[in-house]
Symmetry: C2
Subunit: 285 residues, 2 copies
């Protein structure tokens, strides 16, 4: 089946969807993105993604070519056209196409906007949530502004391949002895009754799912500490898990071959996943 | 005038030159590039660029879709078709187009290859070589594998804009107190009779022009030290300069508002520029 995608104001079949070779997203990784989950045909946390998108654009002095209302409409139209019940909507905005120059082009250059869907049947009932993920640790070699959601994703991609090669599902990145985050998700550990996850800074992505999960955890009277933690602390934790828009809350049961806690998904991660899915579905649009 | 460009085996007008929105160069910055200078309608250092391209591809386990002979032929055809006397040939290879996934696609996915020219009349007789460049210093926030020439160029691009905003021409990047390099060039200082430039490592690009200039300098009995140097050492130097494929050797006369040496282009940089242009033209193909 051919997907319908959206490129610069037009809906078109995916095999006809192109950008110029001079697009700064292609030549300079001069672009930002968001991924919004779809459950029951509805968008999760759309508003928060729109807010973060605007922040990424602002940090890069990049013009936003679309209003929030129109963006929502495009999301909904793609979900409808591609009959997405469970899946994702991917959105990317770049600084547009201009002859190659490190300096940004003038304001006359129109930003590029691209959206497409990915159907992921079974997203909410992923077997991984029952089984738990294995992760490896790798050095964090990314650039310094990980709070801006840019398409400079080569290192996370290399990390994912290193994980696969090691028979694991993902990699946690380590900087100055501390865990920053997973390749495309935020990282958490649980020790006793406390959930620990790294504080917000330029070092990590300000996860939309992270914000929601921490809010739900606090509302449920769980204890939350936002601080850095070491790899050893993680290996010695009672539980570990990740959050992201496309995995929600996913237990981690093994780090570098060391079983975490009982080696089975923990009750805190399970409960947070349940709460997140329930609450997010309530507010899905 | 419409340029002729090369995309995946075809020569086409630039306004029809596109890549899929699913190209991993666009979505993940999963691509590498080279820029080769053209003087007198001939290519400078083509062999060295081809060797470095292969190294970048190897480091990323990316397949090379073109033989060196064919690559040379495409370079020459574009130079001819676009009547480039002085200018550049830009080459980019990405891991190709595949549905979005951090993991690399299978070997059945064909890499993307794109080449285009930029005409730069007066490249060899740039007024900047007479006047000298002003640079500012900025923190080096790039990823850890700067020896791989990837398209993750957003931070250098931001650095160029910061320089422009400060009334300067470029930025030198500082890490742990030491100068790494310019936004798209290697950095040098001269103190007494010694040329100092950072040693090769993952921290800097292994410049083709750098290698050639250091070879010519040694052949001319100049003293060369390959080691890190501090920003203060640079500000206190007798001369400073940069090298890159598109600027050759270019004097730096001001760093963060501090005049370097006499505040005029120095004799070492001038001599190296002359030798480089002379020798490179001799071996141009």
């Amino acid at each position: 089946m051919t997907r319908t995608v959206y490129v610069n104001g037009e809906y078109k079949p995916e095999n006809e969807a192109t950008v110029s070779i001079f697009d700064r997203g292609f030549l300079f990784a001069d672009g930002v993105y968001e991924v919004t989950s779809v459950l029951g045909g509805k968008l999760l946390d759309f508003d928060a993604h729109a807010v973060r998108l605007q922040r990424s654009l602002d940090e890069l002095e990049m013009r936003n070519p679309i209003s929030k209302e129109d963006l929502l409409e495009v999301h909904r139209e793609l979900v409808r056209a591609n009959n997405i019940q469970e899946g994702l909507v991917y959105l990317q905005i770049t600084r547009g196409a201009a002859d190659r120059d490190f300096a940004y082009p003038g304001d006359d250059v129109e930003p590029t906007i691209v959206l497409f869907t990915q159907s992921k049947p079974g997203l909410a009932n992923s077997p991984m949530a029952q089984k738990g993920m294995k992760v490896i640790s790798i050095e964090d070699q990314r650039w310094g502004r990980r709070d801006i959601k840019t398409v400079q994703l080569l290192y996370p991609s290399m990390g994912k391949m290193a994980a696969k090669a090691a028979g694991a599902d993902d990699a946690w990145m380590i900087e100055d002895g501390m865990v920053t985050e997973g390749t495309s998700n935020n990282a958490y550990i649980v020790k006793g009754d406390t959930i620990v996850t790294r504080h917000l800074s330029n070092e990590i992505l300000h996860g939309i799912t992270r914000a929601a999960v921490l809010r739900f955890a606090r509302e449920a009277q769980m204890k939350v500490e936002e601080r850095s933690f070491t790899l050893d602390e993680a290996k010695d934790a009672d539980e570990a898990f990740i959050t992201s828009a496309s995995t929600f809350v996913m237990p981690v049961v093994d780090i570098d071959g060391k079983a975490i806690g009982t080696g089975k998904p923990g009750s805190v991660a399970a409960r947070l996943r349940e709460i997140y899915l329930e609450e997010s579905l309530k507010s899905a649009i």
